[in-house]
């Protein structure tokens, strides 16, 4: 399988009045064609910033300080105008949480799909309309002809997210970035939306990057998971391997803090301490070390990248080897 998205030693800062926020540092990850990767972390871990960087929608205060991002071999950071725009609109699509806000409230949802088709394809007129209705049908919206003319406020949250997915998939992208796509939706709707994303990805050979705080969600819907903490990817590996033999202390603690699968409330273990302030000038090489129970002298030196198994990597001097969380 070919690599679709490659991020290599990518670093990014925000210049703010309060100082420079070192939001991402030496982030590396790879997503294969048709694969699914879960980017997991608590708020402030940098997972959304990373997706914005991939999409080129960073705000003006952001500054890339190192590394590169390649999509199907093309450098996404090189600013080559129209070509990039085409990649981002057509081959790379994104859905967000709170779809009602992301949709244009005063335009019929079918027309909003057509807008994308007009921009990125040769379809026009009734052909575009037919394709838009087909898109609604693909995301299992009942009665798509009638729903074509609906306005977002007339649809439930789940239906709006289906419309968002229809818009994202209208041009048959090769990568879908889904940033907390089901946060705020009911659990039964979440199940339907996540299954829809998974099934469409399989049907169309589309890769997905799922950004979520929900470890359980990533576990169920992704082949691979990357765990982020304070702007670092601390561990990345195949889903089951990552859960069964969490190598990074943070991953292990995150698993233990999640109620999913726990038998007793007493077994839930909170993670001590807080995220470090990313504006600090004296951030240690390992940004978890200050709250880590397995810290050692070695943690003061540059972070290693240790392979637990073939494609299960951890950035830690004292990884938990062969232990299950």
């Amino acid at each position: 399988m070919n690599s679709l998205l490659e991020i290599h030693k990518f670093s990014l800062e925000f210049r703010t009045r309060g100082g420079t926020v070192r939001a991402l540092e030496n982030v590396s990850l790879e997503l294969l064609e048709g694969g699914s990767l879960g980017l997991v972390g608590e708020s402030g871990s940098g997972k959304s910033v990373l997706s914005f960087a991939v999409l080129g929608i960073l705000d003006a205060a952001a500054r890339v300080t190192g590394g590169d991002i390649r999509f199907a071999g093309q450098d996404l950071l090189a600013d080559n105008g129209a070509a990039m725009k085409n990649i981002r609109g057509r081959e790379l699509a994104m859905i967000f949480q709170n779809p009602r806000v992301a949709l244009n409230p005063i335009r019929q949802v079918g027309r909003q799909i057509e807008d994308v088709l007009l921009r990125h394809t040769d379809l026009r007129g009734s052909k575009a309309r037919e394709r838009a209705i087909e898109c609604l049908s693909e995301v299992r919206i009942p009665d798509p002809e009638r729903r074509y003319s609906a306005y977002p406020f007339e649809l439930s949250g789940g239906m709006c997210q289906r419309v968002m997915i229809a818009i994202a998939l209208a041009c048959q992208p090769r990568l879908l970035i889904a940033d907390e796509p089901t946060t705020g939706l009911d659990v039964t709707t979440q199940a339907a939306i996540m299954r829809l994303i998974r099934d469409l990805g399989r049907e169309k050979g589309m890769a997905t990057l799922l950004i979520t705080h929900d470890l359980g969600l990533a576990r169920e819907f992704c082949d691979r998971i990357a765990v982020m903490h304070a702007g670092h990817v601390v561990e990345i590996g195949p889903t089951e391997s990552l859960f069964k033999s969490s190598a990074h202390p943070y991953t292990a603690q995150l698993v233990l803090a999640t109620p999913v699968g726990q038998e007793q409330l007493e077994n839930l273990a909170a993670i001590p301490g807080n995220l470090p302030d990313l504006r600090r000038n004296d951030l240690p090489p390992c940004r978890f070390s200050e709250r880590c129970e397995q810290r050692s002298e070695a943690c003061a030196s540059a972070l290693p990248e240790i392979a637990i198994a073939g494609n299960h990597l951890v950035a830690c001097h004292n990884p938990r080897m062969g232990k299950s969380a």
Binding site: P142, Q190, M194, G216, R219, E266
Partner: protein, 378 residues
């Protein structure tokens, strides 16, 4: 156990114009015992929040009763609640610790204000109560003089809890208290709540959409769908063996499943949107259209919530009667006796009582020679 709060045929309808009414809460019957933690689960729009406002008496009822310690409190007008002595008995902890704290008040002021408004404490007694409560919720004294923006999410959650328990309520209503928190903080707050419930002996109504949290924290669970309770029972039993199709769907929808649960994708809801809560058809099951098991009968006869086994109830035609219920049905048919459906649950419960007595008789050692001889104590 004593019933602390009880809802009887509780109804709240909102007029939505054109003489139409939105049935937010539609005939609920349940109770919370003293010292009990009850989880209320259900999705947005199911009426959870309306129910909470009815119980905390910040919203007037359309019909039915709310009893607190046996006294009807359903007729207290919501606008009179602020000054009513009942107000201190039922306290709330809100979802978002940031939104629910006044940014101009320090933690100490927030907690003290609640005690000052609802109790007659003042001066050093008030100070002492605030500090005791802070200790209870694990809030270091040095944080007491900070403003909300100087506190972390977990610390703000503790302030929110302290504000509610400083007046020593008998019922604490927690509305999604951990939803806005990161998983690492959520664990701490859940354990804090678990400790408070054991130490303070008050009752909790824990409103949450997170079934895993409810499973771990609650003794009993009520599952709501479109204004009605569709299933109730001991939390662990309900999650291990959900009866109602909606409960099964909720559990099947959980990523990563639920410890001990046995649901599959076949239990997921089908179809699109839920039925409208505006003047719903009283003769149709509210889940009809989304239920993977719906049949013609569900369209024409709404199943009532009925006792399925001891302590467990569900409202579904497919949740089979227990063997005992089937026996009662057969015996009634044989004797050609018709029972008013409204009295069917009472009959089941009386029959269960006789059955329990018969079980006691059976459990005694019946054969004459094994019945123990009388013992005499000097």
């Amino acid at each position: 156990m004593k019933r602390l709060i009880e809802a009887i045929d509780l109804v709240k309808h909102f007029p939505v114009g054109d003489k139409k009414r939105l049935h937010a809460v539609d005939g609920l019957n349940f109770h919370i015992e003293a010292g009990e933690t009850v989880g209320l689960v259900g999705e947005s729009g199911c009426g959870k929040s309306t129910l909470v406002r009815l119980l905390t008496r910040t919203l007037d009822l359309t019909d039915g009763q709310v009893r607190f310690h046996g006294h009807g409190i359903g007729l207290i007008p919501a606008r009179a609640m602020a000054d009513h002595p009942m107000r201190r008995e039922i306290q709330m902890v809100f979802q978002d610790p940031t939104d629910s704290l006044d940014p101009r008040y320090t933690a100490r002021q927030t907690i003290a204000e609640s005690a000052r408004l609802l109790t007659d404490m003042s001066g050093s007694a008030l100070d002492r109560a605030v500090e005791e409560t802070a200790t209870h919720v694990g809030l270091p004294f040095e944080l007491l003089d900070r403003y909300p923006h100087q506190l972390s999410g977990g610390q703000k959650a503790r302030v929110g809890i302290a504000r509610a328990i400083v007046v020593k309520p008998r019922l604490l209503v927690l509305d999604e208290p951990t939803a806005a928190l990161d998983v690492s903080v959520q664990a701490v707050i859940l354990q804090l709540l678990d400790r408070l419930k054991r130490e303070m002996g008050m009752s909790f109504l824990f409103v949450s959409h997170d079934l895993n949290v409810v499973r771990l924290l609650c003794d009993r669970v009520l599952v709501m769908y479109l204004g009605q309770i569709v299933e109730s029972g001991p939390a662990r039993e309900v999650f291990a063996r959900p009866l109602h199709p909606y409960t099964r769907a909720l559990i099947a929808s959980l990523p990563g499943g639920l410890a001990g649960g046995q649901t599959t994708d076949a239990d997921l809801l089908i179809g699109g949107d839920p039925q409208s809560p505006i003047d719903p058809d009283a003769h149709r099951c509210r889940l009809f259209g989304r239920c993977p098991r719906g049949v013609e009968r569900c369209h024409t006869l709404a199943p009532p919530l009925r006792e399925i086994s001891r302590g467990r109830a569900a409202a579904c035609h497919f949740v089979g009667p227990t063997e005992r219920e089937a026996f009662v049905d057969a015996a009634l048919a044989m004797h050609n006796i018709h029972v008013d459906p409204a009295r069917r649950a009472a009959l089941t419960s009386e029959f269960n009582r006789v059955a329990e007595m018969a079980r006691l008789v059976q459990a005694a050692r019946l054969p004459g020679d094994t019945l123990p001889a009388p013992q005499y104590r000097p």
